[in-house]
C-alpha cells in the first residue's frame, strides 16, 4: 500500500511544482509553492521522519510565506 501512496504523492508534488512555476500571477505562484512544501511534509511523514516533517511545516509555511510576500511587496509586479 505504501508504494501506491508514495507514487501518488510524488505525482502530486511534481504537478503542483510545475503549475507553480508556470503561473503568470505572482501571488498564486507563492501560494502554490507553499503547497509544494505541504506535500513534502506528507512525504516526510511517510518516510518515518517526523522531526523533519515538523521543521518543514513550520519553516516552509510560516516564515517562508512571510519572506516571499515581503519580496512581492517590494519587488513589484511582473511586466
Amino acid at each position: 500500500m505504501i508504494g501506491l501512496i508514495l507514487l501518488g504523492t510524488f505525482i502530486a508534488v511534481i504537478v503542483i511544482a510545475f503549475v507553480a512555476i508556470t503561473q503568470p500571477k505572482l501571488p498564486d505562484a507563492i501560494i502554490l509553492s507553499m503547497g509544494v512544501g505541504l506535500a513534502a511534509v506528507v512525504l516526510f511523514v511517510l518516510f518515518q521522519a517526523p522531526d523533519v516533517a515538523l521543521t518543514e511545516a513550520v519553516i516552509g509555511t510560516g516564515i517562508g510565506s512571510l519572506i516571499y510576500l515581503m519580496a512581492l511587496k517590494h519587488l513589484g509586479e511582473q511586466k
Binding site: I2, F10, I30, Q48, Y68, L75
Partner: protein
C-alpha cells in the same frame, strides 16, 4: 490484478526507484523554472523547489519499509529496528539554514531594486558594458 500491482509497488527496489525518479523529476521541474522564468521571485521559488527535491532524495534513500522512526515511544522500548537518524539530523539543520540564506538573497534583491528599479533577470545588464 490490483493486488498484483500493489505487490509490485511494495518491493524495496521499486520504492527506491520511485524515490529517485520522483525527486529527480522535481529537481528538473525546478531547473526548468530557473532557466525559463525571468522574474526574480520566480527564480527564488525555483531554487526552493530544487532544495526540497534534494531533501526528499536524502530522506527517501535512508527509508526502509517496515522500520519505525528513530524515537522511543509507547510501543518501542529499545533502539532496534529503526531508521537511520543521521540524514534526519542533517536535513533538519539544512532546512533552517536554507531559509535564512534565502532571506539574505531576497534582501539583496530588494536593495538592488531600490537602487536601479530592475526586477527581471534579462534587464540586469550592468556588467555587460
Amino acid at each position: 490484478m490490483i493486488e498484483g500491482i500493489l505487490e509490485y509497488l511494495n518491493q524495496t527496489e521499486v520504492i527506491k526507484t520511485i524515490v529517485i525518479l520522483g525527486s529527480m523529476g522535481l529537481f528538473f521541474v525546478g531547473l526548468f523554472g530557473l532557466l525559463s522564468q525571468r522574474h526574480i521571485i520566480k527564480v527564488f521559488i525555483s531554487i526552493g523547489i530544487m532544495e526540497i527535491a534534494v531533501f526528499i532524495l536524502f530522506i527517501g534513500l535512508s527509508f526502509q519499509k517496515g522500520l519505525t522512526a528513530p524515537m522511543l515511544g509507547d510501543a518501542h522500548t529499545s533502539f532496534v529496528q529503526m531508521n537511520d537518524p543521521i540524514p534526519h539530523a542533517m536535513i533538519l539543520t539544512a532546512i533552517v539554514i536554507g531559509m535564512a540564506v534565502l532571506a539574505l538573497g531576497i534582501s539583496f534583491a530588494i536593495e538592488y531594486y531600490k537602487l536601479t528599479g530592475k526586477n527581471r533577470l534579462d534587464q540586469m545588464n550592468e556588467m555587460k558594458h
